[in-house]
């Protein structure tokens, strides 16, 4: 039993969406609306309560003579998004019921038998992943296939992925692999390749890393995701001041009032 992670390498992703479907098939997740978006071939939009894997389609300008894999061009990039399973997870810390737990594999898991749908995790996720299913009432997101991992199986998305763009394994090994892959890609001329793994922010790194070409913001990957617990100190300090002001103010007001009343 080791701590595991995803490494989603968008330079290998062909945008087939097998991960989306395999995830839904395994987890019994329903469809997410039958609307055409016009955002390239992305008709899902984002991860949410009813989409736990989501392939993004980033179109740029193709030029004849340069395929999308050419180092000079990154013309149509695909990247499969998923819950980041943060090292410091906002949803996990926020959950008041203990429904969200950290598993032995390092994943962040919402226990469906506990969640009461308070919705606090929704506003605590810096990646906009977890969402309340309004029909069901509970919050849902990628389970990291905790059930499969428990018996040593690979998560459904990683298993299905035809080109092994979604890799799954021990987190340390994957981090090393990501670095090696980055060096290799840069060596091939893809100087715009980067690894997205926010280790230097309060999120402290994630169990879902990404290799993308170009600015991660293009893929809706925030440059500085923060776990909201960093605001707690300031918030409670403010709360204490507010309480002190209330207590002091009230005391002063009533004491002064009493004095004036000549008591």
């Amino acid at each position: 039993m080791s701590v595991t992670a995803f490494l989603t390498d968008s330079t290998l992703c062909i945008g087939c969406k097998a991960c989306e479907v395999a995830c839904k098939e395994w987890n019994g997740v329903g469809e997410d609306g039958l609307d055409w978006s016009g955002f390239s071939y992305d008709n899902t939009g984002s991860v949410g309560a009813s989409t736990w894997r989501h392939v993004k389609f980033v179109e740029q300008t193709p030029e004849p003579g340069f395929g999308g894999n050419a180092p000079e061009m990154n013309s149509w990039a695909f990247s499969s998004d998923v819950c980041k399973h943060c090292e410091n997870a906002g949803c996990l810390e926020a959950c008041p019921t203990g429904s969200i737990v950290r598993t032995e594999f390092g994943g962040v898991y919402v226990q469906p038998d506990i969640c009461n749908g308070c919705g606090y995790c929704v506003v605590s996720c810096p990646f906009g992943v977890v969402e309340r299913n309004e029909q069901d009432g509970r919050a849902f997101k990628c389970t990291f296939c905790y059930d499969r991992q428990k018996v040593g199986l690979v998560p459904a998305c990683a298993k299905a992925c035809p080109t092994e763009s979604i890799q799954f394994g021990e987190i340390g090994a994957l981090r090393r692999k990501a670095e090696e892959r980055l060096a290799e890609l840069r060596g091939r001329g893809m100087r715009d390749a980067t690894v997205y793994d926010p280790v230097d922010t309060s999120v402290g790194g994630s169990h879902a890393m990404f290799i993308v070409r170009g600015d991660p913001r293009t893929y809706n990957l925030p440059p500085k995701p923060e776990v909201p617990t960093i605001y707690l100190k300031k918030a409670w300090a403010s709360s204490a001041i507010a309480a002190a002001l209330l207590l002091g103010g009230t005391l002063v007001a009533f004491l002064a009032d009493g004095q004036r009343n000549g008591r």
Binding site: E20, V21, R102, Q111, D147, V151, L153, P162, E164
Partner: protein, 186 residues
Amino acid sequence: MLNDLLSRWPLIRQLQTGADGTGAEAMTEHTRNLRPKHYGAEVTRSICPYCGVGCGQLVYHRDGKLISIEGDPESPISRGHLCPKGADTYELHTHSGRQTKVKYRRPYSRRWEEIDLESAMDMVADRLWDTRDRTFQETRHGASLMQTKAIGHLGGATLDNEENYLIKKLFSAGLGMVCISNQARI
């Protein structure tokens, strides 16, 4: 009893261990005993029904019911991977839009009727026999012809070799139908 209840209260576990309520202490029995849905199920080897690549599939089932269909890691073709269509094979078999009864539409009717399978087979056999009998040409200008052009068949690329074999054998070699075609052009 109360003791048992208390011992299952994560707060008590929290107080005992000083944990922060995010780990094992907050897990339920259900979570602790979580197993994949196909745990211990029967598995049958199959092949993906969609395109011509021929990816291996593992069909998990229990008590005659499908549980899940996923890639076969042993396949030298697919190595366990599937595309979005292949990954949806379970839904293909289990979705609510599947037909399970023979539907029949009478001439000039505006609606379907459900009929039972054996009668439907008899009806089709009767029509096939009748049309063939009326349209069959044994010879033309004294040369062997042995055909009917009044009945056609279309389809085969989604079917099994054995099925295609029986179609060609019965329709062509047995009944003399020549208008037989499918998706393939070779």
